[in-house]
Amino acid sequence: MFLSLIVAVFVVSAYVTFMKHSETLRLVTASSKTTTWAASELESDMLKFLYTFELYETGNRTHDEVLLRYELLWGRVNMLKTGDETQRFRLIKDAETLLTRLLTTLNRNEQMVLDFPSLNATLAKKIHQEFASLLPSVRQANIDSFLGPQRLDDLLKVHKLQKEFGFFLIGLLLSGLAFIAIILIESTRHKMQSLHDSLTGLPNRKYFNDRLSLVEINSIKKRQKFSIHIIDLNGFKSINDTYGHAAGDQLLKEVAIRLQYCISADDMVARLGGDEFGIIQEGINDSSRAALLGDRVCKALSIPFCFNDINIYPRASIGISLYPDDANSAIDTMGNADMAMYRAKSSNYFGYNFFDSVMYEDALRLKILGNALPHAIIRNELTLYYQSIVDIQTGIITGVEALIRWEHSRYGFIAAREIISVAEQIGQTTHFNEWVLKTACTQNKQWQDEGLPFVYMSVNVSQVMFIQDDLIASVQHALAVTGLAAKYLTIEITEDSIMVEIDRAIDILGNLKRLGVSLALGDFGTGYSSLSHMKELPVQRLKINHSFVQDLNEDPKDTRFITTILQLAQSLDLNVVAEGVETEQNRLDLLELGCHFGQGYLFAIPMPALHMTALLLKQKDGMA
């Protein structure tokens, strides 16, 4: 509205200024020049004609010269009567009448002037008198053209136009200034917008990063420290899903307001994106002030938010890192704070978490192993170790469990659990799992081909691999490629992986069973298996976690859990394998309790394929 007003003022002022200027120019040039000139020329032509006429009468001019003067006077009158240029002359009072009278006189006397030499003196005198009588009017028109009312009027108009011209020029100037002001305001606003988050009004990530660079320079100069706090709301997505995006937005605004109350004047809080906020705390000497701020933020966010009579209890994970204590640059400090935040998040507790170097080492280790794993798979740097599963009574090997081993150049021996975790983090589980399955099946087939005793090969499958990957296809592929009969393969999964999505798990296990593969439930007794589901699970074997076997080493022996599990297995018609059998006494106890199979250091430690081959060969020879 305001802008269109300014545009209107500008356009009107520019237009009117131009018009006034043109009009002034026209009046100044056209009126003064041509009108005055034409009027004086008329008088001059008139006088010249009369003069030539008189001289002719005394014999000093020829008839042709009189005719020429007559024609020229006529030409002047015609010129004054027509055309734009002399239009203003005709506006002079009585000018039109005068011109008409002149034209009439010229017309009437034309023939007589042509016949001049034969005219008598009286007639000639009459012609002269007739023209001479018009002379005073011609004279007056000449004067009026220079000073007359028309001319004065023009001058007054010019004066008035100049005034208006100035007035509109001011309009032009003012609207021009207004334009400049608007442009300045707009550009400031634009800059403001580009550096602020539109929802909360807080500085955005760009602004935060800009400020961070300045703070870094300042802290180096002043030899002071600063801390970065990364605040991430927990379960924000579920708040959005449950209460709607409007509530989510309200929550973010409220968090922004509370965070602003927490910081001091020199600090900066920004919305870094989504449900993530950042604080830069400047000019501190140690971590105590950062901890105080962390406390304040926790307290501020722990008060429930009330929207439409619903109390929402937000939870936030806060990571704090100090510069230069934790890193050499502001960017790395920010990365550290992020890491600390994620650590806080994964520990699932509401509070702040300072960065420590272990976190960094952990993150670095994950990064390095994550980069190395795909290559390790391709180059066969991963190896499988095998641990025998034996009949407790006879000591005969009935199965072998494949265990993954990775000797990393920097970190040395990497445990199976970490390898699986790395594979999950870099999204390489399928690839990894297929490699393990194929290698294990190949090995078992090789033993069979070498005439060694037939054993089943037990392969562990992690939760992610079990639920997310196409395990059936991987197993089918491994069996097809290696030619191993399905019944010599056992897929071992933990109790926990099944319980996450019990219905799907039952489905997948059913499909595996249909392939002819046997199934074992590992870590049994440590999870939350529901007894009602137990009977639906198509598993053939339970593996008792070694912690229960350890109970047998207590004094007095604690056999309650093992007994219960064995009884359950018996009623469901399942085999039981006890893990972590370490002593001969363990073996005897288990035997007494009715457990038939065992696995542990008493029988054999996990060993490379070659050693296992030797062990199997020994068994074959013994049997023979």
Binding site: D45, L72, M79
Partner: protein, 172 residues
């Protein structure tokens, strides 16, 4: 030998001077009717001993003509004007000057830059709407610019060059 050769040389020079002057003077046709235009100044061709070109209407009409329609600040509406092309006329008299002094019957005169008029079909009009022009109607000759065809000529400066009742041109 010296005397003979010197006088021979003088004779030769005199002969060539005469030839040179004669070759440029008085070679154009002579007017038979009433003279309506005289051209003087820096011109190489003429039709008189004193190097002046005098033209009657018939001679003007025998030169390359041009016709155009235009409005002017001194007439009402659109009129058709026919006249001799000024460029052709100047070429005919072999004019060499940069300026043209145009004089009217009432001795009004103005200077026109030749460079200004050279690019345009400017005429010395002798007919308006098919009729010869009387003195009372800006005749017999009117230096006319094709204002309607070339709006860039439509300026105050050019208006003052458009002399009517022309009687003489002086090439300077």
């Amino acid at each position: 030998m010296g005397i003979i050769s010197q006088s021979a040389l003088r004779l030769c020079i005199a002969f060539f001077v005469v030839i040179a002057s004669v070759s440029h003077a008085d070679e154009l046709p002579h007017p038979k009717g009433q003279v309506v235009l005289t051209i003087t100044g820096k011109i190489l061709n003429s039709n008189s001993e004193e190097g002046v070109v005098r033209l009657d209407m018939a001679m003007l009409e025998s030169l390359p003509a041009f016709t155009f329609q235009t409005v002017t600040p001194w007439t009402e509406g659109l009129h058709t004007y026919k006249g001799v092309l000024l460029n052709e006329l100047l070429a005919w008299v072999d004019a060499e000057g940069d300026q043209l002094k145009v004089t009217a019957l009432n001795d009004y005169s103005t200077l026109v830059e030749v460079s200004r008029i050279k690019p345009y079909p400017i005429i010395l009009a002798y007919k308006s709407d098919g009729d010869y022009m009387k003195v009372r109607n800006k005749g017999p000759l009117w230096l006319l610019y094709p204002l309607s065809d070339y709006p860039e000529l439509d300026t105050e400066g050019d208006y003052s060059s458009m002399v009517w009742q022309v009687k003489a041109l002086v090439v300077q």
